[in-house]
């Protein structure tokens, strides 16, 4: 395969972004793509930032450096903004719009940037962008964590990958516990319909 893609994923500990990373890496392998993914475990599990990477088409490094990502998936908008230096100019961004405030913000010691300022920063570097309320979509589909499938649904339907939404729906059926499948399928379908932000 000629297409080589590097995807940077970022979210908050406990959100399930590592589960989403693994699901996506497995589905890519099922599409016969060369795939490597990387993640860091440990302290991040206690509510810290969780970053991971998926590299398709022959890359070997399990991690990304600034300016290398073709695609950024931000499972939380503050983390989208924090991760933006990893995106290369002209890349694509898929970001949640549902904030999970860090404790410094909850305690009133720091403040969150506005969603519109985050969208502006994204547009300054990215050629294409999707903004989805993944927790809301997930909650409507049956569980807030299934919102991660909405993010993957939007990505798979974007035309940026060498495969489409069917690859995701079969991976959800194959790899997620049976009781989580309906909510994840519903969320993936909702995400796939989500309009690109112009």
């Amino acid at each position: 395969m000629e297409t080589r893609l590097r995807i940077y994923l970022t979210g908050v500990g406990g959100q399930g972004s590592l589960t989403a990373t693994t699901l996506f890496a497995r589905l890519a392998l099922d599409q016969d793509l060369a795939v490597v993914s990387g993640e860091v475990h440990g302290m991040a599990q206690r509510g810290g930032v969780v970053e991971s990477a998926i590299l398709l088409g022959g890359w070997q490094s399990p991690t990304l450096s600034p300016g290398e990502a073709d695609i950024l998936l931000g499972f939380e908008p503050l983390e989208t903004l924090r991760g933006l230096p990893f995106l290369k100019a002209g890349g694509a961004v898929f970001s949640s719009t549902d904030f999970l405030p860090p404790s410094s913000v909850s305690a009133g010691k720091a403040s969150l940037p506005s969603l519109s300022s985050i969208q502006e920063a994204v547009r300054a570097i990215a050629a294409r962008a999707w903004f989805l309320p993944i927790r809301g979509i997930g909650a409507a589909a049956g569980s807030s964590q299934s919102g991660n499938a909405a993010m993957l649904g939007a990505l798979c339907a974007s035309g940026l990958l060498p495969f489409g939404l069917e690859a995701l729906t079969s991976a959800i059926r194959a790899y997620l516990p049976a009781k989580l499948v309906p909510a994840n399928l519903a969320a993936a379908a909702k995400g796939a319909e989500w309009p690109e932000s112009r």
Partner: protein, 615 residues
Amino acid sequence: MNHPLLDPKGTRHLLLGNEAIVRGALEAGVNVVTCYPGTPSSEVPDLFSSLAGSGRFVFEYSVNEKVATEVAAGSALAGAMSLVTMKHVGLNVAADPLLTMTYTGLPGGLVLLSADDPGCHSSQNEQDNRTYARFAQMPCFEPATAQEAKDMARAAFLLARETEQPVLLRTTTRVSHLRGPVEFGSLPAPAPLVAFARNPGRFVPVPAVARMRHKALAANLEAVVRKVEESPFNRADQGSATSSLGVIASGISRAYLHDVLLAENWRDAVRVFDFGLTWPLPVTLLEGFLRPLSRVLILEEGEPLVETAVRALAQERGIPVTITGKSGTLTRFGEYSTPLVREALGSLLGKCPPSPPGGAAGQELAQRPPNLCAGCGHRSVFYAVRSVYGDQAVYSSDIGCYTLGLLPPLRAADFLFCMGSSISAGSGFARVSGKPVVAFIGDSTFFHSGMTGLANAVFNRHNLQIVILDNGTTAMTGHQPNPGMAQEVLGDQRVHLDIEAVVRGCGVSRVEKARALNQKALQRLIREMKEESGVRVLIFEEPCVLFAGRTLGRARRQTAYVAVQDESARHCFANLACPAFRLSGDEMGVDPDLCSGCMVCVQISPSFKARKGEA
């Protein structure tokens, strides 16, 4: 039993580096596995634990790395192919038996997995355990992909059994926690045991034996060198014969080099030495690679070990090659990356492509440090200790989730070295400073190496307040069993040890126990003992809130809310700083989704109230 890791030859799975190591060990026929968990190594023993029902091997969570290594070594003496796993700093604990078992050799074969952590993602230092390969004289494998993690694990066991020399399998965080496709080899029956032949002249290293065995070790390593020279894990690619620039890359740097050559289209500009089995040094192979070169770049994270060895080799054999190693952006600190490799290689090629521009995050963003969970018993204890001692005491911390108590407002950590140091370093500090010292230690850490410090504190009449934070599990690394865990959770394979009985057995007469979420009891006991001297131990019990939910099946029965917006609520908000607290505008509240129902806030401030039932 059915498990993807037991699938037949030819199957392909996407595996974590650590999962691939498990498969490689099974393909070699591993008989015995011991460990002490620690990030980034923990998935290896946890998987073996879940596969123990296959009956292919014997497995144990040992109480520390020295014990784990000795149990594995004893098993290997009795003829078992043995694996012991740990994180890098664990090898310091295990170094004592290790540096002598390489002298005696181990007939069954032993592989030690050391998962290093350059960049300190979850560790107190970034020591390079390849140094131990040289120090203890162990062959050292350094995988860079998931497939290699599997293949090298298998090869490490076969080499250990064939040569009877212990072998080091060394990963880093990136390798342990990458995922990639792995093609399975055949899964034979477990290895046959090698019968033990009594031989005190080899296995009892009194000085006369030890002197002889040191020479035997050197001779055995000579034999290993010949295998390293021919190993498929060391590939000298002579590439384009016109290039006089070479790169020797080891560990995960090989992946970074691969991607830089791919992205910049530099594949034909350099010759590459892919260095996977890195010790003992394949000198003939290296010499053959270096001879035609005018310049060579060495890529290795951590200490300049390959670099120093290559410099020595070039000097010894008169090879006129200019060697570039640690210099400029390639340092001994942290991790390497594709930009660092591109810059180093680009400057040697006379090409300096600019780093790709990335997006801008803009202003200083609110930080998101890891935090103690909502409902964590440690937070309650730290709050109580701080309300009694404030800044009068010095806080000696230890390794576990509770290290996170260092952050304000709890500020419950003033110093820390390693597993178990809270009690012994606290003893020394108290003796010299004359200040009250409170030492915090968790249950698993207490069994790991707190008990010896406690015996010493009693024996030498130290003056110390010890607080044992007993959450009933090894929480930070993923809830592995330890001797303090309840018998009903441990099952019939393991036996519960009572912490209070151990403490009293070590000679401590002043011991009290309370539930960690009971503020009144905590503050009363802490206040009482503050007036006393000698070694005093408080044991505060509360199951880890994550463990209680997942394993013990405990559900919350109530949640807290802020009923009155007053000074007392503000005090609790600021000093307990529970992650479930929410401020909207000036109004304080509790996020009902995050509240665990621990009700510590309700005990601290009458302005917080409980609401029955699920929120």
